[in-house]
Each structure stands twice: as C-alpha cells, then as structure tokens.
C-alpha cells in the first residue's frame, strides 16, 4: 500500500519540490478526509446537505488547518533539502580525498603548481596593498595634498618646495585648503650623559598635528607661537622614542632635553603611529617661521594641506595656481617677472599618497601583472593535467552516464576533487606568500616606501582563497566542457581501451593551452629580460668615482658652539679646525690612504641649485644659470677617486681664503666651451664682490645617481673668500675615508673613538661603504629586476614542463602509429625529427603570438627601463631563442622514447 504504483515522486527528492506541490498535497489529504466523513454520515441516513454542514461545522476553518500544515511541510522540505545537499557534498569530498590519495603524484604536482602561482600573486598583492592601495595612516588621508612648485625652466622635472613667504601667503589667501602645514625631515643630535646620538627629527609648523588630524598623547602640541623666532625652545617626543628611551614616563613633560647642545623643554608626546609621510621621527621640533621676514626665493619647506570639504584636487590646483600667479606683485624682489618666466615657476597640488608612493605604484602594478601571468601559466599546466585525466576517465564518465548520472552529478564529483586540490594549493600559497613577505621585510629594499606597514593582511588572504576557489571550480568544470554530447558516450564505450589517438578535439585543446602558455611566457620573459638589460646597463655606467675601499660617515657639530655666524675672519675657525683635526687623525689610522669631506656626498646627497655668474658674461639675476653647489674639503676628490685636471684646493688654500674652486666637466663645457676653464672666474651672486678662481676641473660624476646625466657643479671651499657673501659654516659633513682594509666598515669603532675624543657632543651617524650608497641608487631597478627575474624563471620552468607534458603525452598516444611507420621502414631519426618538429610547431606558434603581445605591452615599463628600448630587439630575440630551445629540449626525451619503439611489440599488442 505504501509503495503503490502511483508513487510518482522520484526517490532522489523525497518531497514535492515546489510550494504549490506542497499545498496541493495537503488539500488532497484534507479533501479526502472531508469526503470520507460526508459519505459516512450519508450512509447513516443524513441528506447530503445536512452531512456536509455537520462535517464542516465539526472541522472548523479548513483554510487555517491547511495553512498550518503547509507551514510545517515547507520547513520539513527545506530541512531535507539541506540535509541531502550536505550529505552529497560530504560524499563527493570524501570520494575526492580517497581518489586523490590513490594518485599522490598527480595531487602533489597540482597542489604545488597552483600553490606557486597563487602564492606569488598573493605576495605581490599584499605588497601592492600595503604600499599603494591602503590609505596613509592619517584620519581622512584622502583629503591631504602636497603642494610644490615645478620649475621646468631650471631643470626638467625639477620641483621646488614651498618658501617661507609662500607658505604664509598661501595660508592666508587660499580658499581651497582648510589649512596648510609645513615640515622638514631632518636629523639632529640628542646629547645625554651617555654621549651624543643622531636622532631623526621632524621640524613642523605649529598646525601640523591639526592638519594631519592627530592629538598629542601626553602634554600639549605645538602652536603657531612656537614657530616664532626667539620663541622659548621646546620639543615633543615621538611615541616610540618616548617609550624606549624614557620608559613612557609622563613626568618628562616640563623637563628639558639637550638637543644639539641646546636645552629644549619637552611639552608633549606625539601619538603612536604619527609620522611624517614615510619618515619615522623620534623628536618633533617647531620650525622657525617668521611671517614678517622679507620674502626670499628659497624653497625648503615640505607643504601638506587638508582640502576644504567638497573641494577637489583639481579645484585646489586652480586656486593654488591663481595664488602663484600673484607672487610677482606681492613679492617683486623674490619673484620677479623675469624669474617666473625663465624658470616657468608654477604650482602643483598632488594627493599626498602619490608623493609618498612615488613611482613605486607603476612598478608594483607591473609586478602584479607579471605574477598574474605566472599564475595563468601555472593554471594552464594544471588544466592540461586535468584534461589528460579527463581523457583517461572517458570510460568512467560513459559508464556513469549510462547508469543515469546527470551532468550536475558529474560536475559535483569533479568540482569536489579539483576544489580539494585547489584549496590545498591555496594553503601552500599562503605559506609561500608569508615566507616571501618575511624575506622582503628583512631585505628591506630601500626603493619601496611604507614597507614598515607590510603584513599579510586579510585582503591578501581573501585574494588567495578566491583564486584557489576559482581555480578549483574552473578546473572541475573543464572535463565537462570536453565531455562529448550524450549520444557520443556510447562511442567511448565501444572504443574500449583500444583508442590510440586522443580525439583531435582533445589534442587541440591541450595544444591551445601550450600555445597560450608559451605566448604568456614570452611576454613575461621579455619584461624580465628588459629589466635585466637595464640592470646591467646601469651597472656598467661609470659613476666617475671609485666606490671600492671607501667608508663614509656623517657628523654634525652643535650649531651653538660651531655655527654662530660671526662676520669677520674668525667666524669659521671652530668648524675649520675641527674638520682639519679630524682629517689628520683619521689619516693617521693604519691602512687609511686618504681622507676627504663634503657637505653633499656624490650620489648620496642632492647638490642643490644655486645661481652662478661667470666673469665677462652679462647675466642678470633672472638669466644666470642655476647649477649645483657643493662645499668640498681638501682631499675630497683624491679620496673618492674623482680625477681632477689642474689641482684641487688644499687646507692652505682654504686657510688663506684665496677663493680657489673646482668645477665639474659638464659645467666647464657649458660655460667655457672649447676653452681651458682653469684660471676662469665666477661667483655665486650678481653684485660686485670678489671672484672665485677655477683651479681645477673634475671628471664627470653622476652625483644624482647612475640613471641621471652628469651634473654641473661648482665645488666651493669650506670657508668663503674674504669680503664675499657668507654661507653657513659647514657643521654637517660627510666624511669619506679610503682604506686598504678589505672590510672598510671595520674602521667604524676607530672613527667613533676619534670623533668623541675631539668633541663628545658630536655624534657619528650612518657609517656605510660607498659601494652600498652606489647600490642603493640603483635599488629601484634592482628590485624590479630581481622580482621580474624570479617571475620569469617560474614562467620558464612552468611552460617547459607544460610543453614537455603535451609532447610526451602525444608520443605515448602515437606509439602504435610510430610502430607502424617503423615497420614500414621509417628510420629512427625521421621519427625523432617528427616529434621535435611537432613540439617546435606548437612552440613557435606561441612565441609568435607572445612577441606581438610583448610589443603591445612592454611600453608600460618605459619608466623602469634604463638604456634599452621597450622593444629592444636583442631582448626579444634572446627570449625567442630561449623558448625555441625549450621547445626542442622538451621534445628531446619523448623523441628518444619514440625512436626506441619496437614495431614488432606494438603490432602484436594490436
């Protein structure tokens, strides 16, 4: 009875599927009940009407009962469906795990390949996220902008910062900015009973904290009054510095600390994590700003502003441009019309984030593209493996289909298997990405900003899981797309185990994957190759100095005792004596061959831009060229190995203040083309003051980095000429020592001992080799080159494996055909050649497509390249050769196998 023939519900679903079916069943059930009751009463002699009335009366509200039952049934239905779905899932996954355990090699290859691809992508994504995507660590950071002044007339791409007068003018008159703050990143000296120490300092305007949206953690913050000249000397401490050096002691507020031999009152502590854009300050100091000072064309202030609500960057730009055009009328002495015209002085409002990230954004996006290509190649390899498996499973699929499994069931089965593998791959990926990021943080490439913020965040985790899940489902559905339509399943069964050749469709699918792989590999290898060529080009550039065997360090003499600007012959004596004594003592160290010092070390420091007036030329302030000016002490050129034609100034020259200067070759060529510059005269200003005399010409030095052209520089002595305008006594110097010691850094302790003996309040900082400085100037190229090379290597290996797999498989499939050919007299070499030719055909097809792709895409790398064109024929040719060789090599082993086919055995097997 319970299993009557009319039991029409399919076993798979125990309940009617739709709500309407549920309701219909309940209505039938209740109808049966009511009808039965009525018949009962009619049989007892009631009239039909009377019976119906009585039954309905007793039953009550039929609709209410029906609705109550339907509610219950709907819930039952939902529960059962969930349960069924769950058990199907568990069954599929259990099956998948058991199946994979039987094929550990297949599983391992898939997991590792996917892990590699996803891991690389995740790591680079995490990097991109930390450096580029995440907002700067300020509240509402997207409203912060940076303001500076492009001066293309002075030098292409040159940008001057804000001037003091400009700051006050902008702050007062701008309508677009809620407020503008200025800051300088600087270093200063903290003197404690234990000695002197260099600390990173932020010098800021009083409103800096308000503009970036921070409040002091302890005590008070700066106010505008603190910026005034002659304001009481105060300081704030950075949070970490306060914690580490002062044990988070709040009582520090109100006491004084010795900064550069001046007693500063500590007024507060900055909040945790507050920093200048990408600069972790240990001490915060007020800038000295004077609103009443005469305007000077001196642009030394970084300016950060908060946009007024609703104001766009473009609107702010327009506002700032309007103010900038008013500078000549407001400050005619500093910003003459001639100066504005010649320098093409303008203003640029840039989101602060872009300033901090700089050019790294493009590099990281390119790297993400590169690892995405690696992922695609990895995916193609795995897809190939799945296709091969699908091939070997055709019988299994045919049988299952014949037994009534529908596509949905098969899909569930395959997707379960591939998802298990892909998720394991994702696990490997997260591990790899974590490791890669740790390595990156430890290596700390100086070219990458915000690296302190780099962690493997949840965003990267989401990317890894999404990629793994996507790959898993995609790979699982792949065999289904290759599954023949229903009718053809029978053919598969009939073919039995005897099918020697994979159907053309199967083979072409795999070849297509390999072609795509090859094409992607070409693009990636071209990118890596171009970076490699740039790197070597950069490495082979002669910086114009000998970086080996050099150690450098920085000193900073307390301004209060060395820097006082005394007019007259003795004002520079304390500094001068200190430097000379230091040089003499260092030179006496064993192994040291020479010592030199400068205010701005080549490659490490900028060389500034100052006007130069050459004698007998008609310059005005507006037309005089702006060139680098550097104070260099005796021995500087000899120590760095910079050749000097003529002679370099000595201690005696400087003591006599005879105005002997050295100019760089680039400057000499522009000022006195075809003439001997030695003996020519120049000066740093236009008024009638004594002329400095050129006594020597240096070789060209790439002071701004290896990827910049040689600089035009005048090297002035440490002490200005008698009667000439003065410059600040050079209290901050970088000292260079040339030593015969194989490890120049071993001089460190001796250096510190000597400096401390001369003055215990003078700190030694940044002891490093010149080699490290030169390397750092190429860090951006090195970083991109290394990562692209790693990605390129991965792509190469993966695509080699991919093409090998397909060729090898084809040879296996064609064993019978090869046997027949050999039985018919084909020679082994012919057979081998046939296999290799097939491989090369596939490879060259991919290479051709890839070259087109490379031509189209490498252009985005232009700004990363040095000395090579994005379509450099040598690189593209080299990549082609490498991949053709890969194609041939991948075919080598399968070809050998093919030539060893024994025709007799093959034919017997048939």
């Amino acid at each position: 009875m319970s299993h009557s023939p009319k039991d029409r519900r399919p076993k798979l679903f125990h309940l009617p599927t739709s709500r309407r079916r549920l309701r219909g069943d309940i209505e039938r059930e209740l109808r049966f009940h009511i009808d039965g009751r009525i018949e009962e009463l009619v049989a007892r002699g009631y009239t039909r009407e009377e019976a119906e009335r009585q039954v309905i009366e007793r039953f009550g509200d039929v609709r209410f009962v029906r609705d109550a039952c339907e509610e219950i049934d709907a819930m039952t239905h939902r529960r059962r469906e969930l349960g069924e779905w769950r058990s199907a899932l568990a069954r599929d996954f259990g099956h998948a795990l058991r199946g994979l355990a039987h094929r550990p090699a297949f599983a391992a290859v898939v997991v590792l390949t996917l892990g590699l691809g996803i891991g690389a992508t995740t790591a680079i994504y995490a990097l991109l996220d930390a450096v580029v995507l995440r907002p700067l660590p300020y509240p509402n950071a997207s409203r912060l902008v940076y303001i500076d002044h492009p001066v293309p007339g002075v030098e292409t791409n040159a940008r001057w910062r804000m001037s003091q007068a400009g700051y006050f003018f902008f702050r007062k008159n701008s309508k677009a900015f809620a407020d503008i703050a200025v800051y300088n990143r600087t270093e200063t000296t903290l003197v404690t009973p234990d000695g002197a120490e260099r600390v990173r300092a932020a010098a800021v305007s009083g409103n800096f904290f308000d503009v970036v949206g921070a409040r002091p953690m302890v005590g008070r913050g700066f106010a505008d009054a603190d910026n005034r000249p002659n304001a009481a000397p105060v300081a704030m401490l950075g949070y970490d510095f306060w914690r580490q050096r002062f044990n988070s002691d709040s009582r520090i507020v109100g006491t004084t600390i010795n900064i550069a031999s001046t007693a500063l009152t500590v007024i507060g502590v900055a909040p945790p994590k507050l920093q200048l854009p990408d600069y972790q300050a240990q001490v915060w100091l007020p800038l000295e700003l004077d609103a009443d000072a005469p305007a000077v064309n001196s642009h030394y202030l970084d300016a950060v502003a908060r946009l007024r609500p609703g104001v766009t960057v473009a609107a702010a730009q327009a506002d700032a441009a309007g103010l900038t055009s008013r500078l000549p009328e407001e400050f005619p002495r500093a910003y003459s019309q001639g100066f504005m015209r010649d320098s093409r002085f303008s203003v640029l409002v840039t989101p602060l984030r872009d300033i901090v990230i700089g050019g790294m954004s493009r590099t990281l996006w390119i790297l993400l593209g590169a690892v995405a290509i690696v992922l695609l190649i990895a995916f193609a390899n795995v897809a190939n493996l799945f296709l091969v498996r699908a091939e070997s499973r055709r019988r299994e699929v045919a049988i299952r289909t014949a037994l009534g499994a529908d596509r949905l069931h098969l899909a569930g089965h395959y997707v379960a298997e591939s998802t298990v593998l892909a998720m394991l791959g994702g696990l490997v990926a997260v591990g790899l990405a974590y490791g890669a990021i740790r390595v990156l943080v430890v290596l700390n490439p100086s070219s990458v900003p915000r690296l302190a913020e780099l962690t493997l965040g949840w965003q990267a985790g989401v990317v890894a899981v999404a990629l793994a899940l996507g790959s898993g489902i995609g790979l699982g559905l792949l065999p289904l797309t290759r599954m023949a339509p229903a009718g053809a399943q029978v053919t598969a069964l009939r073919e039995g185990g005897r099918s020697q050749t994979a159907s053309r469709r199967q083979l072409s699918a795999r070849s297509t994957l390999v072609v795509a792989q090859m094409a992607l590999a070409v693009v990636l290898l071209a990118a890596a190759g171009l970076m490699l060529r740039s790197f070597y080009r950069l490495r082979s550039v002669q910086p114009g100095l000998d970086a080996s065997g050099l150690v450098t360090f920085e000193i900073s003499l307390p301004w209060s005792r060395y820097g006082t600007r005394i007019r007259g012959p003795d004002g520079y004596l304390p500094v001068f004596r200190f430097h000379r004594d230091l040089a003499e003592r260092l030179a006496a160290l064993p192994g040291v061959t020479s010592v030199g010092m400068t205010q701005a070390l080549a490659i490490k420091d900028g060389d500034g831009c100052a006007l130069v007036f050459v004698k007998d030329r008609n310059y005005t302030r507006e037309t005089a060229p702006c060139v680098g000016n550097v104070l260099a002490g005796p021995g500087y050129f000899a120590t760095l190995g910079i050749p000097v034609r003529g002679r370099a100034p000595t201690w005696t020259d400087m003591e006599q203040k005879n105005g002997a200067v050295v100019v760089s070759k680039a400057l000499a060529q522009r000022m006195w083309p075809g003439e001997d510059p030695v003996g020519k005269e120049l000066r740093p200003n236009g008024v009638a003051d004594p002329w400095y005399r050129v006594v020597g010409v240096t070789g060209d030095v790439l002071t701004r980095g290896l990827d910049h052209p040689p600089t035009e520089i005048v090297y002035y002595p440490l002490i200005p000429m008698e009667g000439a305008p003065l410059w600040s006594p050079p209290t901050r110097m970088t000292v260079a020592i040339r030593t015969r010691d194989a490890n120049p850094l071993s001089l460190g302790p001796s250096i510190r001992r000597i400096v401390t003996a001369l003055d215990r309040e003078v700190p030694v900082a940044n002891v490093q080799t010149m080699r490290a400085i030169v390397d750092r100037s190429t860090a951006k190229t090195t970083f991109a080159m290394l990562l692209l090379a790693v990605a390129g290597g991965m792509a190469l290996v993966l695509s080699a494996v991919g093409i090998y797999g397909v060729i090898s498989y084809t040879v296996n499939q064609r064993t019978a055909e090869i046997g027949v050919r050999m039985a018919l007299g084909a020679r082994a070499t012919q057979v081998g050649r046939m296999v290799v030719a097939q491989s090369l055909r596939v490879a060259s097809f991919g290479i051709a497509i890839g070259l087109v792709g490379a031509f189209a895409t490498t252009r985005v790398m232009q700004s990363l390249l040095f000395g090579v064109s994005p379509t450099d024929p040598v690189t593209l040719g080299g990549v082609t050769v490498v991949l053709v060789m890969i194609g041939a090599l991948a075919a080598y082993a399968p070809a050998r196998r093919a030539t060893r086919v024994n025709p007799v055995e093959v034919l017997r097997r048939e």
Partner: protein
Amino acid sequence: MPDPDLDLLRGTLDLLILKTLSWGPMHGLAVLRWVEQVTGQRLQITEGALYPALHRMEQKGWLGADWGYTERNREAKFYKLTATGRRQLATELSKWSRYTEAVNLVITAQGAK
C-alpha cells in the same frame, strides 16, 4: 456522544496518534475513527489538531508518509510509524504511566491529620 468533560489533555495527542499508528499505516481519517471507536465516542480529536500534529510528527521523523489507495480505491495519504516513532511511542507511554501513577497517588492519598 463525545464527553465534553474529557477534553484532550495537553500532550496526549501525540501519544494517541503514535499508539494508533502502531497497529499499521493509516490515513488521517482512519486515525480519527479509530480513537472514536475505541473510546466509544468519548474522546474526540478535532481535525484542526490532528492534521498539524501529523505533519509536525512527520517533520520530526516519527512518522513516514506515502500516498496510496484505500479499499474503495480512493487516493489518500497514509502515515506509518518509523523506527524513531516507535522509540518515541515507548518514551511517551512510560511518561504517561508515570504521570497517571503520580496523579493517582495524590488523589487516593488519605488526608493529613
């Protein structure tokens, strides 16, 4: 005639249905008739209580349901006891007897002096 004083006690409906179905698969109307017949019409179950109870017990897995035909070839939904239902019946029975015993003890006890 139904005895109006014998309103179905709370919680006994499940017990009645389970016990009735322990004799074999029945449709809802048969369950109702059986209870009326056995109690000589003294106990009446209303349809408004019976059907939601049947469906709820089906959801709990105590009852299975299948469509079938009556002797008079009418299509009806037959309920039968599942293994879980049988265990539930045992539980309910013992609960019922413990309950009536307790109530009996109270109503037959001698008054306290």
